[in-house]
């Protein structure tokens, strides 16, 4: 079976677009949420959101251009970082994962056209696959394109299947994109469900209230061949559906435990081989309990150190798979596993204790967990051990 090496990557998020700077800011435990207005139904208050800085004028005046410039720019940097030749790029498959797809663009059009009562989206949507096909055309990627829309596990599932296709010899390499840009549908949608944390992100903390959303684009190049000096591989993973409820998982965490065990097994490891876990850690009261119960059931008394990365960059929904993988990889390559900022007070109900100081480590087997609406559970295992 072939191996799926992480050959290169690029990232843009609320902490910037230079990976060295982003990881330095994570090392300094910087969190950069802005306050955005809630202005429907005659209300006037704010909620935090992790916005990508810069180019505000372009975003305001030509969102479509901003949307594709950001996407193409990140893909371009990932190709450069990976050292892909034009021929290698052409012989790549393309995986695109997103929750919002092109909704930000449609929102702008919807607002401008004021087409009350019309079916503007239904009449004009180019389909979910359009963005991936535009990336393929822009960069002359001639392999197959796959767009995953599995809510917050979208780009994690892209990584899972890209690795599987490399391992089974169906493709040589894959350009894997996770991309979600700010959209009012998501921002107001989560607020309508009272799921947005107003007072600073604090997953697993006793006083947690919910999520803080963020935007970003993470692009990972997986390849049969490693780039010199880079040794991270995606060993494998698993996906399953918890059919308990469309918005929440079974609080016992049975299905989360199942997917964690399955991911470990599919990676050719045992649970004791996992050195650290990047939890999904949304900060929602129920989801954190569920996830912790699942981890305890899967690892028993030997639960590895675990962390949540969303306080640094927000919950980037469907894009969080590639974005959080890049952060784990790049942090490890700089010698540490990031702590969970915001966690301060233990919730006696679950007694979960994510790490609050960075761990000094650069070699390890890392588990990355992602869970989302629609019962979707995805667990990945990456490693830079020999």
């Amino acid at each position: 079976m072939e191996k799926a090496y992480i050959r290169g990557s690029a990232l843009v998020c609320s902490l910037g677009d230079d990976i060295g700077t982003i990881i330095k800011r994570i090392k300094n435990k910087e969190c950069a949420a802005a306050e955005l207005p809630i202005s429907v139904a005659s209300l006037s208050y704010t909620r935090p959101y992790y916005l990508i800085p810069g180019k505000d004028e372009e975003r305001r005046t030509d969102l479509k251009r901003y949307f594709y410039n950001l996407l193409f720019g990140t893909v371009s940097r990932a190709i450069e970082d990976s050292g892909l030749t034009a021929d290698e790029t052409a012989h790549s498959a393309l995986f695109f994962g997103s929750t919002s797809i092109d909704i930000p663009i449609f929102e702008m059009t919807y607002k401008k056209q004021a087409m009350s009562g019309s079916k503007m989206l239904s009449n004009e949507s180019p389909g979910y696959g359009k963005i991936a096909s535009m990336v393929a055309e822009k960069f002359d990627v001639r392999g197959p394109c796959y767009t995953f829309t599995t809510a917050c596990t979208s780009s994690a599932n892209c990584l899972l299947y890209a690795a599987s296709m490399i391992q089974t010899g169906h493709i040589e390499r894959a350009i894997v994109i996770g991309y979600d840009l700010f959209n009012e549908l998501g921002f107001y949608g989560f607020e309508s469900m009272k799921l947005i944390e107003p007072n600073g992100y604090k997953p697993f903390d006793k006083n947690r209230i919910g999520i803080i959303m963020g935007e970003g684009c993470g692009v990972v190049v997986l390849d049969r061949k490693p780039k010199h000096g880079r040794s991270f591989r995606l060993l494998g993973g698993s996906n399953a559906c918890d059919t308990f409820n469309v918005t929440t998982h079974n609080i016992r965490g049975d299905d989360i435990a199942h997917v964690i065990r399955d991911a470990v097994r599919n990676s050719g490891l045992s649970s004791s081989d996992i050195d650290a876990v990047k939890a999904h850690a949304t900060g929602s009261p129920v989801n954190d309990i569920t996830e912790y119960n699942g981890m305890k059931a899967a690892f028993g008394d030997a639960l590895p150190p675990f962390t949540g990365l969303k306080p640094y960059i927000g919950h980037t929904v469907g894009a969080c798979g590639t974005i959080e993988l890049i952060i784990v990889v790049e942090s490890a390559e700089r010698g540490f596993f990031p702590a969970t900022p915001g966690f301060g007070e233990i919730d006696e109900e679950i007694n979960a204790r994510p790490i609050t100081e960075h761990l000094s480590m650069n070699k390890g087997n890392y588990m990355l967990n992602f869970f989302g609406f629609g019962g979707n559970c995805t667990s990945l295992v990456i490693s830079n051990r020999e």
Partner: protein, 290 residues
């Protein structure tokens, strides 16, 4: 991947949800209260496919769609920008396009892999490719792979999407599924190949290199040109053609319907479906009916 059962469901976009719900009740006792049309279509197709079959709890779901859940996204945009109100939580949740695959799994009590996938003009074939890689790695031994889409609403939209190949095609809603397992025993056929070629010549060359088999049935997707069809029919000895778009109408993941129709209408035959995507690649889906 062995095919054990199929469904090939289409209906008029004008058919009301109430009658679809009544129809669905013939196939399942599942309680569906607040499902939208896309979810309803998904459930209708999948329950027709597995009616009176015992489905393993580990069965994986691969729902292929070009457009997903447009209706509730439209509703939420309307609530936000026209009614100046918060999205209704039920509508907001259903903007996540994987809710349909969730309800499919919940209604069948399956806990296996659950993927919603799209690929411009080749969503169903790409869904099958994901299933294939899971079967190869033994992560999955039973799977339901379906193509579900609501009709695109306007002729103008259709022309924009398909570059002026409207030809008066009747637009329909559709949901067609395959129940696949790793077991040959009891199967009615198998998916023998899914391949992508950059030219029609390469695809025909591949097809001609296949060992002589059962009578061959050819079929063509929406973007196959008249020239494509003529060339294939001339170069690739075949015994019949399954024409489905002029006869039944079109929805965006209609290749799933073609496969369903093949399995329901032919025996001891091989099947090659020639799809072409907007970039001009040829996506070939080959099946065998026992």
């Amino acid at each position: 991947m062995y095919v054990h059962s199929t469904s090939a469901f289409i209906c008029s976009p004008a058919q009301d949800n109430g009658s679809l719900k009544e129809d669905l009740k013939k196939y399942t006792d599942y309680f569906f209260r607040r499902v939208n049309r896309f979810i309803l279509l998904s459930l209708t197709g999948v329950h027709r496919c597995v009616h009176q079959r015992k489905i393993d709890q580990s069965t994986a779901i691969y729902l292929a769609t070009e457009n997903g859940n447009l209706g509730d996204t439209e509703n939420v945009l309307h609530q936000l920008y026209k009614e100046n109100s918060f999205p209704k939580p039920f509508n907001f949740i259903n903007t996540m396009s994987n809710t349909a695959a969730f309800y499919v799994a919940q209604s069948l009590k399956t806990l296996g892999r659950n993927i919603t996938v799209s690929s411009k003009n080749a969503s169903f074939e790409r869904g099958l490719e994901l299933a294939r890689v899971d079967f190869m790695q033994s992560h999955v031994t039973e799977a339901l792979v379906g193509g579900v889409d609501e009709a695109v609403f306007s002729r103008e939209h259709f022309i924009t999407k398909y570059e002026e190949r409207y030809h008066g095609v009747r637009l329909v809603d559709g949901s067609s599924w395959l129940y696949l397992t790793a077991r040959k025993e009891g199967a009615i056929g198998e998916i023998t190949d899914i391949k992508t070629f950059h030219t029609s010549d390469d695809a025909i060359h591949w097809a001609k290199s296949l060992p002589p088999a059962d009578p061959l049935v050819l079929s063509f997707g929406i973007l196959a040109t008249a020239e494509d069809k003529d060339t294939w029919k001339r170069e690739c000895p075949h015994d019949g053609e399954l024409e489905y778009i002029d006869s039944y109408g079109f929805y965006d993941t209609m290749a799933s319907f073609a496969v369903g129709m093949f399995f329901q209408n032919f025996t001891k035959s091989s099947f090659i479906h020639v799809n072409r995507n907007i970039q001009g690649k040829y996506i070939i889906l080959a099946c065998k009916r026992y």
